[in-house]
Amino acid sequence: MSRQLSNFPGGLHLPGHKELSVGEAVAAAEIPNRLIIPLHQHIGAAAEPLVEAGQKVLKGEMLAKAKGFVSAAVHASSSGTILAIEDRPVAHPSGLPALCIVLETDGEDVWCERHPVEDYHSLDPSALRNIIRDAGIVGLGGAGFPAYIKLNPGARTAVDTLILNGAECEPYITCDDRLMRERADEIIAGARIMRHALQASKSLIAIEDNKPEAIASVREALERLDIDDIEVVEVPTRYPMGGEKQLIKVVTGKEVPSQGLPLDIGVVCHNVATAAAVHRSVELGEPLISRIVTLTGGVERPRNLEVRIGTPIEELLPQAGGLSANVERLIVGGPMMGFTLQHREAPVVKTVNCILAATREMDASRGPVRPCIRCGACAEACPVSLLPQQLYWYARAKDFDKVQDYNLFDCIECGCCAYVCPSNLPLVQFYRFAKTEIWSQEREKKASDLARERHEFRTARIEREKAERAARMARKKAAVKGDQGTGDNAKKDAIKAAMERAKAKKEGAGTQPKNTEDLTKEQRRKLAEAKARREKALKDQAPNGASGGKEEK
């Protein structure tokens, strides 16, 4: 294939360590006694439960439906009984528990009724998207964005290229590699469905050139199925090649606009595993209830397992031979962008592509954190051409305006900068800190804006009601007076005089003229002094002016 590839700046040639698990064919993991299925496994709103405790469910039955536009359904990964819907520890960087459906499996593993689509061509794209949405398919590369939304280009944009991401650039992870080797047909079938849904003019599968077997397998399947409208693109092995923006740049030469979407340049990018899941949902009627997970690093027998969503991670470890003695932590995802698993009883969710048992030896950094020496290694490694060093200074100084001037929000948190930093600075951590601080400031600002708006509205309402009441009263009074006729002039004059007296008294008490209210203290003080002087000069009563001055201070 003679496609002209582009390039992205920076990036790293990382030791892959894929040999640990890449030779292991995908095997089915055991069905656990209890599945813990979180309602929130994706970007967007948590799903809304459709079942209750005590209810019996079959494999593939929808347990909770998508709530709102950006959301995804979850399904029973096996048949059994719902035990509870309650907070359980989940695989999330925060370590906080989240609402999960606990399902006791019956070991029968009986499917519910499935509705495969005979010919997806007969369905229109929106019907396809509904099937994909109801199958709970989210991006399986790690981000977990509901896939049906990314298959919905809308009327405004024509999709030029559908890219299937098979780069798998993170070290250690081999689940996509195995999938491409073993189930290329499923990926291709999924790609065709996606292409139909998107009405895309081109589609291609991008694979890093360190996976020759996967490339050969996909090419072989394309040839066997006599498909010539899907291209296999061999991309160089360089981290983070699998980053959506980086891959798009390399394959198409185009850049996704900052704060924009690939769709803005007519590109849609999906993971190869997502494509396979789309195929299963449409052509087999199977919702997303399992995925391939790589168990690697400090385990006795690194493997790739087809794991049911909801399987507790601690129950997978024995299936990989258990942990070695020197394991420090379990990482969900790869070493560059993964996060530390805080609770081993947390379940595998749709976005868990790898469980990496990390040992101290994996981290080649030595020595303490030192000051930044401005060496610029970070900027050279940055695939987005940011200046990580400047971002670090400003994030550390909590100068959140400056840090945004240096395009903090274009950072993809790939970790290249921190990987090369000779001072061992935890750079990405600083960026995450700055991002969350800015988000929370924005939230606070929104909240205070709202509060102020409400307050202003309330004040205006009270004023209005007061005025209305006064007007009503005046009308009533006038009506009453009209009845009485023009009699009591003396009384009227007396009232008028009393009102004037009251008014004079009020003014005499030193009410502030309105136009001095927004002056500074200093200005007010000077004003008061001038007033005092003037009054003294007029030989008026001195104490009056002085007390006024005091008040104004």
Binding site: L14, R370, E413, C421
Partner: protein, 346 residues
């Protein structure tokens, strides 16, 4: 550090600051050995004195600031400063000269700004310039290469001179010192001689630069190339510096070869090669992007040529680097790369 691994990435390459600093030290070893071989062990005294005072000044200030001493001392940066200053000073400097210079460099130019990574100026060059301005006589008393000396200077005599200021009876400073080739060239040119006459008249000059000097400078070049190969430094600052100096010297030499020495002489003489590979490449006080480094180097190269040719000093590496240090933040500001997905840099 507990925080280092608390979030991703959980992997790191084996590079660290100490490694970088030590690589710089290793790269300077061949030139230092050649220096000893050609000029005697005086330079080792410079380096030794500078190293002792650099480390003790750094430790004292750190302790005073209440900062951890051990990690800062073990980063090797003070050692590099001492080595660079020791190599830049005349090889027969009195001990107090070296001491004043290194104390100025470490205390004023480095620690008072906040220590490693916070100094806007290259500490060794600040120390050097402070000495050049304060003690011009001592700073221009250069030992002649051993092959060109009329008097015999043993190690004992050297020690005695460095620590007491006395030379053995029968030995005068004149018999063991000489002008540097750049100094000689400048003086003679001002007396109306042509470049060729000057170079053929004095044994100070060799085929590329100065006798003896050119070997040392050649080894600085070699050490620099080794750092490049090890990816400790990038090529941008050295190429910018040497390229600009070559262009300017070549330009003037082309039009008037009698008045303006050629580019090779300029590059092979004085502190240019040390400056290009070891001083202009200082990350902390230099520009941070590669484009910026090219500009930084080119600016330093231009200043070196201008000061050497039209200014009052025979050599100008330290001044040029310091002037460019001042410009580094501005260079950084204007050489920002275009960020992915942005139309233009902002």
């Amino acid at each position: 550090m507990a925080e280092i691994n608390s979030s991703s990435p959980y992997a790191h390459n084996p590079q660290n600051v100490t490694g970088v600093m030590l690589a710089v030290v290793y790269a300077l070893i061949p030139a230092t050995l050649a220096y000893v071989w050609l000029f005697g062990p005086g330079v080792l005294l410079n380096i030794g004195i500078a190293a002792v005072f650099a480390l003790s000044a750094e430790a004292t200030i750190l302790a005073w600031r209440g900062a951890p001493v051990r990690p800062a001392l073990s980063d090797g940066s003070a050692l590099v400063t001492a080595l660079l200053l020791g190599l830049a000073l005349p090889p027969l400097s009195p001990w107090w000269l070296t001491t004043v210079g290194i104390l100025f460099a470490i205390i004023i130019a480095k620690q008072l700004y906040g220590g490693l990574g916070f100094n806007p100026f290259n500490p060794a060059m600040v120390g050097y310039v402070a000495l050049l301005i304060s003690f011009p006589v001592e700073m221009t008393t250069w030992l002649a290469p051993e092959s060109l000396r009329s008097g015999e200077l043993g190690f004992g005599a050297m020690l005695s001179y460095v620590f007491t200021g006395n030379l053995p009876v029968g030995l005068t400073l004149d018999s063991i010192t000489a002008a540097t080739p750049l100094d000689e060239m400048k003086t003679q040119l001002s007396l109306g001689q042509t470049v060729n006459e000057i170079r053929s008249a004095s044994p100070l000059f060799a085929q590329f630069g100065g006798t003896g000097w050119q070997v040392i400078n050649g080894l600085f070049l070699l050490g620099g190339l080794w750092l490049l190969a090890r990816r400790v430094i990038t090529w941008h600052a050295p190429v910018g510096l040497l390229g600009m100096l070559f262009l300017l010297a070549g330009f003037f030499h082309f039009f008037d070869a009698g008045q303006y020495p050629g580019p090779v002489f300029h590059i092979a003489s004085g502190g240019v090669l040390l400056g290009a590979f070891f001083i202009a490449t200082d990350p902390t006080s230099g520009a941070t992007s590669n484009k910026g480094r090219l500009v930084f180097g080119a600016g330093a190269g231009a200043l070196i040529y201008l000061i050497r040719t039209f200014g009052g000093f025979p050599d100008a590496v330290a001044f040029s680097v310091l002037l460019m240090n001042m410009a580094a933040p501005t260079i950084d500001y204007y050489t920002q790369p275009r960020v992915y997905g942005h139309i233009r840099k902002d």
